[in-house]
Amino acid sequence: MTLAIDIPATSGKTERNGVLRFVIRLFREKPLGAAGGVIFILFLLCGIFADVLAPYGMNQISPRNRLMAPSWAYPFGTDNLGRDMLSRCLYGAQISVIIAFTAATLATIISIVIGIITGYLGGKFDLVTQRFVDAWMSFPDLIILLVVVSVLGPGLPQIIGTLGLLLGIAGSRIIRSAVVSVRENMYVHAAQSIGASTGRILWRHILPNIMPPIIVLFTTRVGTVILAESGLSFLGLGVPPPTPTWGGMLSGSGRTFMFQGPWLALAPGLCLTIVVYSTNVFGDALRDLLDPRMRGSR
């Protein structure tokens, strides 16, 4: 029997356009999520190019222009020392970007490593490890952060490390459950039957299939980290001044001069709200679109 069967030629080039098609789908089906994505990217760019975009230096004092209301020269107004709020918000974005991406990346990697190993190996190892995760998750995050910061002193590395660890361990639960469901798929058994080692199965057969939850976990973690860092800075335990952070601006001059210059609190507060909200809706939209059950439906 020599029967050659043809399937419609849909390969190669169309697959390379997958990302583009996905973006189009995102805009068409989840306009709010797409808007969140755009703001998210804008936030990223602001953070990266803060030095170029900022009209003034972050600590450039101009005592004559203290507490100026928003105007063309100072779109977000100035603070009690005459520093430009727009510039400070942009530099604040920079700090947020640095912390958010390093800590969220660290957290995601920790989640993947713990989640994939416990989820795939299962059994007693899984049971014991997950009880440690339970115990860890039952501590309030802020308490652990406060302890670490008060022992090691405030500073970027401590905050990034602690947040990464905190969120990473908590997030391992999500990755683990994704792995547990993927593990039972026939193609994992098929991979075992061709003699693939455990490492190869995890890397080539499990990891690509849990990318959707990983992407969602990462985007939502970015928002969480920004909030947590602002919370710490608000309490004066975050990145030490004079480095501008959104949380620090809110608690320092923002609170003291709330009535003389409400823009002092409004500017960083709005930045914070918009960015965190947009990462959340963006993450939600990604989750909806990447859900494997919805895959293939157009």
Binding site: M1, L3, A4, I5, S11, I194, G195
Partner: protein, 323 residues
């Protein structure tokens, strides 16, 4: 007589379940000669798939465990191999084809990468070279326009095409034995024949042996050299395919034959179902598992388990009665 390629002796596989320990495969012995196609037939829960998975030690543990027996492949006991040892056999010397082509391929990888993977795993061949070999393999399983198909994802393939891909993967390392676990159950009838013909053809080309697990007696008649009939975790009858059809010796086998519709002869003959239910493996009767449904039951059937004994040349059955 040549040495059998695979010799399974007294294989026992048990699963621990909430209802107690279930013996899915109970002291099964059989062999496969080089180049031979052995069909293992039986209804759901008869232990045929577990037998196949046990050969490659793919039983998930826990809850499953191979408790006893020897699996001699080319003289080595697969049950005594360490982890890297058994991995070197899987997909290399013994390949497996599963029953669900729709879910046996990884949706996140292109077909080409998956066909190339066994070559990369076992020979350490770099991906580009393995990919070239995959192109050739895809051609051998009669998928047209191989080079461009390799870049497609499994969801762009139909069920029959995917099963062809699975066969290509199984052939990748030129295995001595292919185990096909109900390879056509999930496919359309017309595609079934194509896939089985293809399997038969590629095993003939390569001279590899085939264990064909199925519940379809029509498939057995057409493709198998020898047949092992399983019931309740045991082999109840083994015979060359023609012999089994001409002279079934075990009451279960003859019951099966009588319950299959035939197009040739026997016009107007009524189908004779086997009375009763398939056995519950968690609570098997102390004697022969088939005893409660058997038409030729003797007193000893209720108390003793019959051994698989030779009744004619290359023909064995596990039954006290003479049918």
């Amino acid at each position: 007589m040549t040495r059998p390629l695979l010799e399974v002796k007294n294989l026992t596989t048990r699963f621990r379940t909430e209802r107690g320990t279930v013996t899915a495969v109970d002291g099964v012995s059989f062999h496969v000669d080089p180049g031979e196609t052995l069909a293992i037939v039986g209804e759901s829960g008869s232990g045929k798939s577990v037998t196949a998975l046990s050969v490659l030690r793919l039983i998930p543990n826990p809850p499953g465990r191979i408790e006893n027996g020897e699996i001699l492949f080319d003289g080595t006991d697969l049950l005594k191999l360490d982890d890297p040892g058994i991995r070197a056999v899987r997909g290399n010397k013994i390949a497996m084809i599963f029953q669900e082509p729709m879910s046996s391929l990884n949706p996140a990888l292109t077909v080409g990468l998956q066909v190339a993977e066994p070559i990369n795993v076992h020979r350490g061949t770099p991906w580009e070279k393995a990919y070239e070999a995959a192109t050739e393999l895809i051609g051998r399983v009669r998928i047209g326009d191989a080079a461009s198909r390799l870049g497609s994802y499994p969801h762009q393939y139909s069920g029959g095409m995917r099963q062809r891909v699975m066969i290509a993967m199984a052939l990748a390392c030129a295995p001595r034995l292919i185990i096909a676990d109900e390879p056509t159950t999930a496919l359309d009838v017309t595609v079934q024949a194509q896939i089985l013909d293809l399997l038969k053809e590629v095993t003939r080309e390569t001279g590899s042996s085939l264990i064909l697990i199925t519940h379809d007696l029509g498939v057995v008649a057409r493709y198998a050299d020898r047949v092992a009939v399983m019931y309740g975790g045991r082999i109840v009858e083994v015979a060359p395919a023609r012999e089994l059809y001409a002279r079934p010796q075990h009451p279960y086998t003859s019951g099966l034959m009588a319950s299959v519709p035939r197009l040739d002869g026997g016009g107007g003959r009524r189908l004779m179902p086997i009375e009763g239910q398939p056995p519950d493996l968690a609570s098997l009767p102390p004697g022969c598992s088939f005893a409660p449904r058997c038409r030729a039951i003797l007193d000893q059937c209720r108390t003793a388990k019959p051994e698989l004994l030779q009744v004619a040349d290359r023909h064995a059955k596990a039954c006290f009665a003479h049918v």
